[in-house]
C-alpha cells in the first residue's frame, strides 16, 4: 500500500551565473552613492586607520570624504595644475600627492598647507607613495625616473633612471622598508632596493603597465597593463604565475580585498572583476556606467569606491548583517526538550511501538488528495504562491490536466478570479518551461469564457493582453528562426564537403523551445 505522492514541482535549473558564496557576498552592497567630482578621478585611497576616510584625487583637488558623508570633509586645493595619486601613510596622518608640474607635496591631514615639497622631477609625477618605514617617499614621473625622497630633510636620496618611458604606477613592499616597485609604459615593472644603485629585478609585462600591486606577503606581484592582469612570483626571480585576460579594454587599477583572498581589477570596459587568489578564476563582476580609472576597497570590505573618467565617484556600502536570531529563538524549543528521549536506546526485552511519522502535506496536495480540483487550483492561485513560485501553480495545473479535471477546475469562476488567471497566463505563457502547460490552460480558458466575452471590461482587457503577449512571442520566435537559418548557412559553408549527408544540429535545446512555442 502506497502513501499519497505529492505533486512533483519541476525545479528548473537557472541559466546564467550560478549563485555561489561569492555572489552572495559581493551582492551584499546597498545601491551606490554617486558623487560628482571636477574631473576624472585618477586615485582613491583609504586611510588605514578608523574611521577609514578616503582621499579622492580628481583634477587639481584632493577631497577627503568620511565613511558615509556625501560632502568632502576636507579639501586640499593648493595645486596649480592637476594633482595625482594622493596616498595615505600607514598611520593615516600624512598624505602625499604628485602633480602635473613635477612637484610632490606632503600634507598633514589636519593641516591645510603642505608640510614639505619635493622638487626634482621635470615632468608630471603620477605615482607617489610611502615606504613602509614611514620616513621615505618614492615617486615615479613622466621624466622616466623613479626617485626616493627623505621626509625630514625634504631631499632626494636616490634617483633611478632605468625606465625608458613614463612611470605611471608603483607600490612599496610592506615587508621590507627598502623595497619598492614601479611600472612604466615601457612594458616593464622594475623592483628597486633603496640600498643599491640600480634595479634589482625587471619584469617584462608586455604591455604599458597601468597598475602594480604587491601581495601583503611580498612574494607575489600583480601587474596590469593592456587587457592583461599578470601575477608574478617575485621570490622565484619574477616567474609568471598566471596571466588573466578577462577584460576587453585596458585594465587601469588593481586592488586586494581586506582578507587578501580576492583580487579586484577595474578597467576601461566599465567592469570590475573579482578573482579568487587561489584559483585565479573570476568569481564575481560589477558593472559600472563609464570607464573606471581608480578603485579602492575599505578595510573589512565595508565600502567599494570606484572613480570614473567622467568624474563620478561611485560609493557602495555594505548592507548591515541581518540579525533575526531573536525571532528564530522564539520558534525553536529549548535544546533539552529537543533531544529529550532521542538518545534513549531500547533494551532487549523492551517492546518497541513505532510511531508513524506524520507527513506534512501542502494545502494544494491535501486538496488534490481528496480530489477537490477547483479548491486545489484556488490554493495555488493565492498571490504569494502565484507571484513567487509560479512553478508550483503550473505544476498543479499540469497535475489537474493529467487527472482530466483541469477544465472543470477552471470553469465557473467569477470576474475577479478569471482576471487573476488570465493575468497569470498572459505573464507566464512566454516562459519556455511553462509554455506547454499554460497554452493548454489558455486554450481552455478561451473555450470556457468565450460566451461571456464583452460582459466585463477587465476580462476583455486581459484577453487582449494575452493575445498581445502571444503575438509578440510568435514574432520573436520567427525572427529567431530567421537568425538560426542564417547561422545554419554560415555553418554549412564552414563544414567540410565530405559530410554532406551528415546533418548536425547541435543547438537542439534551442529548436525545442521554438517548436513548442510556434504551436501557440
Amino acid at each position: 500500500m502506497a502513501a499519497y505522492k505529492p505533486v512533483v514541482v519541476q525545479a528548473c535549473p537557472k541559466l546564467g551565473e550560478r549563485i555561489t558564496q561569492d555572489t552572495l557576498y559581493w551582492r551584499g552592497y546597498k545601491t551606490p552613492v554617486q558623487i560628482k567630482e571636477f574631473g576624472a578621478v585618477s586615485k582613491v585611497d583609504f586611510s588605514p586607520v578608523p574611521p577609514y576616510n578616503y582621499a579622492v584625487t580628481a583634477s587639481s583637488r584632493i577631497h577627503i570624504y568620511g565613511r558615509y558623508s556625501q560632502e568632502p570633509i576636507k579639501t586640499f586645493s593648493r595645486f596649480k595644475d592637476a594633482a595625482y595619486c594622493a596616498t595615505y601613510r600607514d598611520d593615516g596622518r600624512l598624505l602625499v600627492a604628485g602633480s602635473e608640474d613635477g612637484s610632490i607635496r606632503l600634507f598633514d591631514i589636519s593641516g591645510r598647507a603642505p608640510l614639505r615639497q619635493f622638487d626634482g622631477h621635470t615632468k608630471p609625477v603620477h605615482q607617489v607613495g610611502f615606504l613602509s618605514d614611514k620616513y621615505r617617499v618614492f615617486s615615479g614621473g613622466d621624466d622616466y625616473s623613479s626617485n626616493l625622497w627623505d621626509i625630514p630633510k625634504a631631499t632626494e636620496i636616490v634617483s633611478y633612471n632605468e625606465h625608458t618611458d613614463y612611470v605611471r604606477c608603483g607600490c612599496a613592499s610592506k615587508v621590507n622598508a627598502d623595497v619598492f616597485i614601479t611600472g612604466s609604459y615601457d612594458h616593464t615593472v622594475k623592483l628597486f632596493d633603496a640600498r643599491t644603485k640600480s634595479s634589482v629585478m625587471t619584469i617584462e609585462h608586455g604591455h604599458p603597465v597601468e597598475s602594480v600591486l604587491l601581495f601583503p606577503s611580498g612574494g607575489l606581484l600583480v601587474s596590469a597593463g593592456g587587457r592583461y592582469v599578470k601575477v608574478w612570483d617575485v621570490l622565484k626571480g619574477g616567474q609568471l604565475l598566471v596571466s588573466l585576460k578577462n577584460h576587453h579594454k585596458t585594465v587601469t587599477c588593481l586592488c586586494l580585498n581586506s582578507s587578501g583572498q580576492r583580487l579586484l581589477s577595474g578597467s576601461l570596459d566599465r567592469h570590475v572583476k573579482i578573482y579568487s587568489t587561489t584559483s585565479y578564476k573570476v568569481v564575481h563582476s560589477f558593472n559600472y556606467a563609464t570607464s573606471i580609472l581608480s578603485l579602492a576597497l575599505s578595510p573589512e570590505d565595508e565600502t567599494i569606491v570606484v572613480g570614473m573618467t567622467n568624474g563620478v565617484l561611485n560609493v557602495k556600502h555594505r548592507k548591515p548583517e541581518e540579525r533575526n536570531e531573536k525571532s528564530q529563538k522564539k520558534r525553536q524549543p529549548a535544546y533539552r526538550t529537543y533531544v529529550k528521549g532521542r538518545t534513549f536506546v531500547p533494551k532487549q526485552e523492551d517492546f518497541c511501538v513505532s510511531k508513524p511519522v506524520k507527513r506534512v502535506l501542502r494545502k494544494y496536495d491535501k486538496l488534490l488528495k481528496s480530489f477537490q480540483s477547483s479548491k486545489a487550483l484556488d490554493a495555488v492561485l493565492e498571490p504569494p504562491i502565484m507571484l513567487h513560485t509560479p512553478e508550483v501553480t503550473v505544476a498543479v495545473m499540469q497535475e489537474l490536466h493529467r487527472r482530466g479535471t483541469l477544465r472543470s477546475a477552471l470553469a465557473g469562476r467569477d470576474e475577479k478570479q478569471v482576471n487573476l488567471l488570465l493575468t497569470f497566463v498572459a505573464r507566464r505563457v512566454i516562459e519556455p518551461r511553462f509554455t506547454s502547460v499554460l497554452v493548454t490552460v489558455a486554450d481552455m480558458l478561451t473555450d470556457i469564457y468565450q460566451p461571456v466575452v464583452g460582459q466585463s471590461v477587465i476580462v476583455d482587457r486581459q484577453f487582449l493582453k494575452l493575445q498581445e503577449a502571444i503575438g509578440k512571442e510568435i514574432d520573436y520566435q520567427e525572427e529567431l528562426l530567421e537568425v538560426l537559418g542564417m547561422m545554419d548557412t554560415l555553418f554549412a559553408t564552414f563544414t567540410k564537403k565530405k559530410d554532406m549527408y551528415l546533418e548536425e544540429n547541435k543547438s537542439n535545446g534551442f529548436t525545442d523551445t521554438i517548436e513548442t512555442n510556434t504551436n501557440d
Binding site: V8, Q10, Q21, R403, G404, Y501, E504, N505, K506, N508
Partner: protein
C-alpha cells in the same frame, strides 16, 4: 523441451480462504492450489493435480483440514492441504465453473455447470459425493437447483445457514428457498440510469440475518430485505464506488460489509448504513476478490495485478503476497538487471519491478514516475516505456511518456545506484528529450572502461538519435558530481530512427532508420556505412559477440533475417523468417530469434557466422511471443546433450501476449518439482510447545550418544554415507520411488565392491552415448526441415513423447549414480 514457467499464473482466481486458525491462506492459482503462510508470506504447498484451471476452492465444512477444489477439467478433488495430499477425486463429467459447500448438507456440494445443449447458459446443480473406497470416484448424481445462473463464482451466494441460495444475472435476482422449495424472482428496471446501468456484478449474503447485498455495475450496493415476499420486499442503496463493484464480503458477525472495485479502495460499511464507512485507499491495483477469514480476524483482497493483500480487521494493511505483476502492456521489454540478475519490467503503473526468477518473488519495486496514480478508466497517465541498464548496473535510464492528443509528454530519467542505500537514486531528469516517441535506448556496454566513458543513445520518432554523455560538475559546492547532457544529434535523410545497438567493444553504433541500418563511429560520430535490405522496415538489430563480432544481424518486418559483414560491408547471408524477437546472449555468440507464423511461435538459435541454426524448436507455444531475455546462470549448467549447449551459460525466458512467462529447460518437470518439494519439506512451521522442546532436547542427546558410539566403529565411512542416507530419509514418502525399487539399491550400497568401476556403470555410459547419437540425428533432421521451410511437426511431437520416457530413465540413472558414490566410499 518446453515447460511453462509455472511462475504465478495470470488468473490468481478463485476465492482465497483460510484455515481454522487463520494461519494458512489458500488460493487457486491457475492449475494449482497454493497454500501460503499468513505470517511469513511464503508458499508452503503447491498442490497440483487438476488438468485445467481451478475454478473454485472451499474448505470442507466438516473437516477444517480438508479442502474441496473444482476445475474446468470436470473433477472435484478433496485435499488434505496440511500435507498437500489429494484424498479423493470425483469426476463430474462437465466443466465446473464454481464450487460451493454448505455446512448443513452432509455430502452435497454445489457446482455451476454449463447447461447441456445450450451455449452460455449455466445452471447450479448439487452433486452428491458418494462415499466409496478408492481414490477416484464417479459423482453422477446431479440435481438441478437453479437454472440460468451467471458463470462467475461471484454471482451466487448461500444465505443464512444454507436456507436459501441467491443468484444474480444481468438485472434479475433469484432467491431459492430450499425448505419451502420456493423461487422468488426480482427484477430491476432495465433502463439505464444516468452514468451507468444497474446490472448485478456480485452478491453476498448476511451470515446471521436475512439480508442480501448486491453490487452493481454503476457502483451502487443494494441491501435487500424481506425477500420472502414477492411484492413487499425492500431494498436500500449504498453508493460510494464510481465504477463496478467487483466484490462484496460480510464480516463473520455481519456487522461490517466490505466492498472493492476498480478504484483500488477497500470500503468498509458499518451496520449497513451509508454514513458510517471507512476506507483503505491506494491498494495499488483494482480489487478482484475479497475474502474474510473464518475467525474474522483477517481479510484479504486479490488484485488484478496478481497480488494478495492481507488486511487486519481494523482495516490496517498487514502484508502482501506479490508475484510477478502482470501489467496490461509490457512496454519496457524484458531487461535483466546485471547486479541482481533479476528480471526487470513494468510493474505497478509507473513502477519498475525487479522480479527474482529463482525465488518467484518480487525483489523490489522502483517508483519511476513518482506521481499519484489515479484508478479511473480512460485516464491517460504517465507510464514507463523504456528501460536500459549500464553494463555493471550502476546506471539505469528510464523513459516515461504520457500519450496526449497534441504531443506526448516525455521524460528521460537517469538513476544512479547508491551502494549505501542499496537502491537507485534519481540523478538527472530530462524533459522532452525527443519531440516524438522514443523508440529505443541503449547504453554503451564497456566493461573494462571506467564509468565516465558511459554513453547513452536514444532514438526517436522525430527522426533523430541523440547521444547523452555524463558531464562532471566543476563546481565543488554542487550537490551532484555528475549529470547528463546531450552531446550529439544525428539523423539520416529524415527517416524515423527505430532501433539502436552498440557493438561489443563499443566502437560502433548501429542505428536503424526505417529501411536502412546506419553504422556510426562512436568517437567522432561519423557515419561509416549503411546497410539496406528492401523491402520492409528494420524491426530488430543486434551485433554479434565474441568470435562473431564482425557481424551485424537485422530483421525486417517483411520477414527477412539478414546478416551483414562489417569488414566487407556486404550481406553475408539472409533467411526468410518472420522474426518477432531477436535476442543475443550476452555471454556467448548465440542469438535467439523467435518467429511468428500462422498461430505458432518457433524458436531458432544460431551463430551469426553460419546460416544454419544450431537449435530449432517449432511450435514453442500457441501464443505470440512478444519479448525474450537471456538471464545469465549463476553457475554453468552441465548438460549432456550438445544440442542444449547454448543453454549452458544463460537461460532464455519468453513473455507471450497473454502475459505468461516461460522458459526453456533441459531438465524435466518432475526433477524440478522434486527439488522444490524437498525445500518445502524443511519449511514446516510447527508451533514450538514446551513439550516439543523437551522432546527435542532428549532426542538430540540421544543422537549425540549414538554418534559418540558410532564414531569408534565407522569413523569416516559414516560421515561419507550420511548425506546420502539423510537424503533418503528426509525425502517425503510420497515423492520417493517404491520400496521394491529402493531395496536392491540400498542393499547394493552395503556391499563392498572390488573394483572402482562396476560393469553396470560402463553399460550406462554406452547407453548415454547412443542417446547422444540419437539427439544428433534429431538435430540434423531439424536442420533439413528448416531448409525445406516445410512444417511437419509429427516427428517432433513423436520426439516429445519418447522424451518423457527418457526423462524417467534419466531419473532412474541418477539415483543409481548417487549410489555409486557410496560404493566408492567403501
Amino acid at each position: 523441451m518446453v515447460s511453462p514457467g509455472a511462475l504465478r499464473v495470470v488468473r490468481c482466481g478463485g476465492s482465497a480462504l483460510r484455515g481454522a486458525r487463520a494461519v494458512y491462506l489458500l488460493c487457486a492459482a491457475g492449475d494449482f492450489v497454493k497454500v501460503y503462510s499468513v505470517t511469513t508470506e511464503e508458499t508452503l504447498r503447491l498442490m497440483g493435480g487438476h488438468a485445467d484451471l481451478v475454478t473454485g476452492i472451499q474448505l470442507n465444512p466438516h473437516n477444517h483440514m480438508q479442502l474441496y477444489s473444482s476445475s474446468l477439467d470436470g473433477s472435484i478433488k478433496l485435499w488434505d492441504f496440511m500435507d498437500g495430499i489429494p484424498i479423493k477425486t470425483f469426476a463430474v463429467g462437465s466443466k465446473l465453473l464454481a464450487l460451493y459447500t454448505l455446512a448443513g448438507a452432509e455430502d452435497l456440494v454445489f457446482v455451476v455447470i454449463p447447461k447441456k445443449g445450450e451455449r452460455d447458459t449455466f445452471q447450479l446443480v448439487s452433486v452428491k459425493l458418494t462415499k466409496g473406497a478408492g481414490q477416484d470416484l464417479e459423482a453422477k448424481e446431479l440435481s438441478v437447483v437453479l437454472d440460468g445462473v451467471g458463470a462467475s463464482p461471484k454471482h451466487i451466494a448461500f444465505g443464512r445457514e444454507g436456507e436459501y441460495v441467491v443468484s444474480v444475472k444481468e438485472i434479475t435476482l433469484q432467491v431459492y428457498f430450499f425448505k419451502r422449495k420456493l423461487l422468488n424472482r426480482f427484477s430491476l428496471r432495465a433502463v439505464k440510469t444516468k452514468g451507468g446501468d444497474n446490472q448485478f456484478s456480485c452478491v453476498a449474503c448476511h451470515p446471521t440475518e436475512d439480508c442480501i447485498a448486491t453490487g452493481h455495475a454503476d457502483g451502487k450496493i443494494r441491501l435487500w430485505r424481506n425477500f420472502h415476499h414477492r411484492k413487499e420486499y425492500t431494498y436500500s442503496t449504498l453508493h460510494w464506488h464510481h465504477d463496478t463493484v467487483m466484490d462484496l464480503a460480510f464480516s463473520m458477525e455481519g456487522t461490517r460489509l466490505l466492498s472493492g472495485g476498480v478504484e483500488s479502495v477497500l470500503v468498509q460499511w458499518h451496520n449497513e448504513s451509508a454514513c458510517q464507512k471507512d476506507f483503505l485507499p491506494r491498494l495499488g491495483s483494482p480489487i478482484e476478490y475479497i475474502s474474510m477469514s473464518s475467525d474474522g480476524a483477517l481479510c484479504c483482497t486479490v488484485h488484478a495485478d496478481n497480488r494478495i493483500t492481507i488486511i487486519n480487521s481494523n482495516l490496517r494493511f498487514s502484508r502482501s503476497i506479490q508475484g510477478l505483476i502482470k501489467s496490461r502492456d509490457i512496454k519496457t521489454g524484458l531487461v535483466v538487471d546485471p547486479r541482481t540478475k533479476a528480471l526487470v519490467l513494468n510493474g505497478e503503473p509507473g513502477h519498475l519491478q525487479f522480479y527474482c526468477l529463482q525465488s518467484d518473488q518480487q525483489l523490489f519495486s522502483l517508483d519511476i514516475v513518482q506521481r499519484q496514480y489515479i484508478h479511473q478508466a480512460g485516464l491517460k497517465q504517465s507510464d514507463l516505456v523504456k528501460v536500459a541498464f549500464s553494463a555493471q548496473g550502476t546506471w539505469l535510464a528510464t523513459v516515461e511518456e504520457r500519450e496526449e492528443v497534441t504531443d506526448p509528454e516525455l521524460e528521460l530519467k537517469l538513476w544512479f545506484y547508491n551502494k549505501e542505500t542499496q537502491s537507485f537514486e534519481l540523478n538527472t531528469r530530462i524533459n522532452t528529450p525527443h519531440d516524438n516517441h522514443i523508440t529505443d535506448m541503449c547504453f554503451r556496454d564497456m566493461d573494462e572502461l571506467e564509468d565516465d566513458s558511459l554513453i547513452l543513445v536514444t532514438t526517436g520518432r522525430d527522426c533523430v538519435f541523440k547521444v547523452w554523455v555524463m558531464v562532471e560538475d566543476t563546481d565543488p559546492e554542487a550537490q551532484q558530481r555528475v549529470s547528463w547532457s546531450c552531446d550529439f544529434v544525428g539523423s539520416y535523410h529524415n527517416y524515423q530512427a527505430t532501433n539502436c545497438c552498440f557493438s561489443e567493444d563499443g566502437s560502433l553504433l548501429a542505428v536503424s532508420f526505417e529501411e536502412t541500418v546506419t553504422v556510426w563511429d562512436s568517437v567522432t560520430w561519423d557515419l561509416k556505412c549503411t546497410f539496406c535490405h528492401p523491402p520492409g522496415n528494420i524491426r530488430n538489430i543486434c551485433f554479434g559477440r565474441l568470435t562473431c563480432s564482425k557481424y551485424l544481424i537485422g530483421a525486417t518486418d517483411y520477414g527477412f533475417l539478414c546478416c551483414w559483414n562489417l569488414l566487407t560491408c556486404a550481406l553475408e547471408w539472409s533467411a526468410h523468417l518472420n522474426v518477432v524477437v531477436l535476442q543475443p546472449d550476452p555471454l556467448s555468440e548465440h542469438i535467439a530469434a523467435v518467429s511468428w507464423l500462422s498461430k505458432e511461435s518457433s524458436l531458432f538459435v544460431f551463430k551469426p557466422n553460419e546460416p544454419r541454426p544450431i537449435y530449432i524448436q517449432r511450435n514453442l507455444c500457441k501464443e505470440k511471443i512478444l519479448l525474450a531475455a537471456f538471464v545469465p546462470r549463476d553457475e554453468p549448467e552441465t548438460t549432456g546433450s550438445e544440442k542444449y549447449l547454448w543453454l549452458r551459460r544463460s537461460q532464455l525466458f519468453f513473455l507471450t501476449d497473454t502475459q505468461e512467462l516461460m522458459t526453456l529447460s533441459t531438465r524435466s518437470l518432475e526433477e524440478r518439482l522434486t527439488a522444490s518439494s524437498k525445500q518445502l519439506a524443511v519449511e514446516e512451521s510447527l508451533p514450538v510447545t514446551p513439550f516439543s522442546l523437551l522432546l527435542g532436547k532428549h532426542r538430540r542427546q540421544q543422537a549425540q550418544e549414538d554418534i559418540d558410539l558410532g564414531k569408534l566403529l565407522v569413523h569416516n565411512k559414516h560421515e561419507q554415507a550420511s548425506p546420502a542416507v539423510k537424503e533418503l530419509l528426509h525425502t517425503p514418502a510420497h515423492v520417493l520411488p517404491s520400496a521394491s525399487f529402493l531395496c536392491p539399491i540400498f542393499i547394493n550400497s552395503l556391499l563392498i565392491s572390488k573394483e572402482n568401476k562396476s560393469a553396470e556403470e560402463v553399460a550406462d555410459e554406452v547407453e548415454m552415448e547412443s542417446e547422444k547419437a540419437e539427439d544428433d540425428s534429431d538435430e540434423e533432421r531439424d536442420v533439413t526441415e528448416m531448409e525445406q521451410e516445410d512444417t511437419s511437426h509429427m516427428e517432433l511431437l513423436g520426439e516429445m513423447t519418447c522424451k518423457l520416457s527418457k526423462s524417467q530413465e534419466k531419473e532412474l540413472r541418477k539415483i543409481r549414480k548417487m549410489d555409486y558414490s557410496w560404493i566408492s566410499a567403501f
